[in-house]
Amino acid sequence: MDPAVRVLTVDDQPLFRGIAREVIDATPGFEVAGEASNGEEALTAVETLSPQLVLLDVRMPGMNGVEVAQRLTASHPETVVVLISVEEAADVPSAASLTERVPFVRKRDFGPGLLRRLWAAYGQ
């Protein structure tokens, strides 16, 4: 049995952090590494917790998700970074430059199935 994939959730909305935790807990093979509510906290958390997958909300006060994604892909190329938002991809053009390495998913589609597919496609 492989060790569980550790997931870090980054979102300023406590509501989504809560539901993400529920989903991760309900997905076998994945576990919650931790939570962060803004970009700075996220960067620190990545250093300290070494998650394998990071869920990044695009719209946050201070450093937005796209910026954090750019930094993480540079500093931690082995970490899977996923941008997530209530908006559609067309509403966040700046994320387009990253789509090769950083997938963009809609919050409403989030669930155990999506989590597994993401890890299968971008992890390992």
């Binding site: 909305q13 509501l15 989504f16 309900a26 209530v86 669930g111 155990p112 199935g113």
Partner: protein, 597 residues
């Protein structure tokens, strides 16, 4: 004033006519031959022309004094024409009077055109001439047997009447040897000095004064020449044929001088009349203060003309158009004409002293000045009001944009997130029911139903904040509804309030709402708030008052909330007033004009 002026003029004219008639009669009676009527005409003109010009001059305010002076001089010069008589007494009176003609002529020439001697040097010249008259002329009337002949004042030569005032036994020699040449020389010198003074005044004066003085200067200079020539020729060859010609020229110099005065005055009138017209033509349609200054300086050919404004009300000071304190320029004397508007000192025009008493100038300058300053003030007010309106519009627009942003954020952070979470939960539950990891449980669905309720509440509250549906049912409904939803107990008094145009009801509703929210947030110790709405005398008035701690509006300043309240009300023509003091609660009052229903 005008009436008595006319009477004086008529009296002077009548008396002048009488004196001219007497002159003519005396001359014709005493004429030795030749052309008595010609001579009579000439002598009468020395009386009549100055009086006529004097009467004309009196009719124009800057020259009134001069006119009176000239009329008096005309009457005085009448006496000298008695010298044409063949009788001893009138002849003697005439000859003595003729000495005073010189002094009189000197005085009027130097006092032209105001009637006052302008400078100390002028008074010196006239004083010296009077002194000469008193010391070298008058005493000799008791000492001579015969007055010197020929003279401009008497056509007789060897057959002149005897001096009626002779007191001494015989004529002392020094009178003919010393006194007479000295006094003749002095007379010529004084008149030459007067001509030089005129020339100097012309060179240092403005254009107007120069034009007015020019004819007088010409005649005066010519007269000096004739006087000098007479003295010289008489000394060399008393019997020369030139002497009577020069004498006649000297005689005719008096009416000539009077005509020179007339021409000068005429030039003045023409110039001023033209200047007033030029001024009207030069001013642009809405003149500013600098336009007026330029136009006045140009029209009246006074380049040094300046306008100063009175800044401040009670104890203010004079300043120029750039609000730099004004100082009168050094050098040539200037006159100041103050401009008053409705009893208030508004401005002062600094100009050529020659224009000081010219009514046409003062009248035109002050009326245009008042209009200009009014225009300027009104424009400034209008500009300030426009700026206020522009600022208000910008604020309203910014507020509207801010509102939109707030709505988007509220939707995003609230309802949208909730619904997304709900969906995820539903899908998750569906998966779990599918793979059997969870049992079907109605309670779970009920929980999810509660989440939908919360989302609905959030959306409803947001929509209500955008535009409360109750407002469609009227201002009073909306206010009562808002009163039920605040944290503070709120009472609404709105008896007799009906419906108003939508913009008005919206403005009043949101302003009251803001005031109530302020009371809930900031009025410490407040137990309740009251909203009072009433319509009276074509105005809708409302008051939101609380019993909180109150504050001092003067020191506290206005926040964005109050400004936006004022803007909202201003957009429908209303006005906001805050009444508050520490310890006495706060009252927010507004008044909006409404169409009577």
């Amino acid at each position: 004033m005008a009436g008595s002026d006319e009477r004086v003029g008529i009296a002077a004219a009548a008396l002048g006519a009488v004196l001219c008639a007497i002159t003519v009669w005396v001359t014709v009676e005493g004429a030795p031959g030749g052309h008595p009527w010609l001579e009579a005409l000439a002598r009468a003109s020395t009386v009549g022309v100055p009086i006529a010009v004097g009467i004309y001059a009196r009719g124009r305010p800057p020259f009134r004094r001069f006119g009176t002076l000239l009329i008096a001089a005309g009457f005085a010069w009448f006496l000298s024409t008695l010298a044409a008589s063949s009788e001893s007494l009138p002849y003697s009176v005439g000859r003595v009077a003729s000495w005073a003609v010189e002094v009189g002529l000197l005085y009027v020439v130097l006092a032209f055109p105001t009637g006052r001697l302008p400078a100390r040097v002028d008074r010196l010249i006239v004083g010296s001439a009077v002194l000469t008259l008193l010391l070298l002329y008058l005493p000799t009337m008791f000492l001579v047997e015969q007055y010197p002949s020929p003279s401009p004042y008497a056509m007789c030569d060897s057959d002149c009447p005897a001096n009626a005032f002779m007191l001494a036994g015989s004529e002392p020699a020094f009178v003919a040897d010393v006194v007479r040449p000295l006094r003749e020389l002095l007379t010529v010198c004084f008149f030459a000095a007067a001509a030089v003074r005129l020339g100097y005044r012309m060179s240092s004066a403005g254009h107007l004064t120069r034009r007015t003085l020019a004819p007088v200067f010409t005649v005066a200079s010519a007269r000096v020449g004739v006087m000098a020539a007479t003295v010289a020729v008489r000394a060399v060859d008393p019997g020369a044929a030139l002497v009577p010609v020069l004498s006649w020229l000297l005689t005719l110099a008096v009416p000539a001088m009077a005509i020179a005065f007339l021409v000068g005055l005429g030039r003045w009138r023409l110039f001023v009349g033209g200047a007033v017209q030029r001024l009207a033509g030069r001013l642009p349609p809405h003149p500013g203060p600098d336009d007026l200054r330029v136009a006045l300086a140009d029209a009246f050919e006074d380049p040094g003309l300046e306008i100063a404004y009175w800044i401040g009300d009670g104890d203010g000071h004079w300043a120029d158009a750039a609000e730099i304190p004004y100082l009168p320029p050094p050098g040539a004397p200037r006159s100041v004409t103050e401009v008053h508007d409705g009893g208030r000192k508004v401005a002062a025009i600094v100009h050529d002293p020659a224009l000081a008493e010219e009514r046409a100038f003062v009248g035109a300058a002050t009326s245009y000045a008042v209009i200009t300053f009014d225009n300027h003030r009104l424009s400034a007010q209008a500009a300030a009001l426009l700026r206020q309106v522009a600022d208000s519009r910008a604020r309203i627009q910014a507020t509207a944009d801010d509102e939109r942003r707030r709505i988007e954020r509220d939707l995003h952070d609230g309802a949208q997130q909730r619904l997304v979470a709900l969906r995820i939960k539903l899908m998750l539950t569906a998966d779990q029911l599918d793979d059997g990891s969870r049992d079907g449980d109605p309670a779970l669905l009920r929980t999810l139903g509660d989440e939908v309720d919360t989302a609905l509440d959030e959306i409803r509250s947001l929509a209500h904040g955008i535009y409360p549906a109750t407002l469609d049912r009227g201002l009073v409904e909306a206010l009562r509804s808002a009163a039920l939803q605040g944290p503070l107990p709120i009472v609404v008094h709105a008896a007799g309030i009906g419906r108003y145009p939508r913009e008005l009801e919206t403005a009043v509703y949101f302003t009251c709402l803001e005031a109530l929210q302020n009371a809930a947030k900031h009025a410490s110790g407040a137990t309740a708030a009251v909203v009072d709405v009433a319509e009276e005398a074509g105005e809708l008035r409302f008051e939101v008052r609380d019993d909180g701690a109150g504050y001092d509006p003067a020191t506290a300043g206005e926040g964005m909330g109050l400004t936006s309240m004022r803007d909202r009300l201003a957009a429908v023509g209303g006005r906001l007033t805050i009444v508050s003091s520490p310890g006495h609660g706060t009252r927010v009052r507004a008044v909006i004009p409404v169409e009577p229903r």
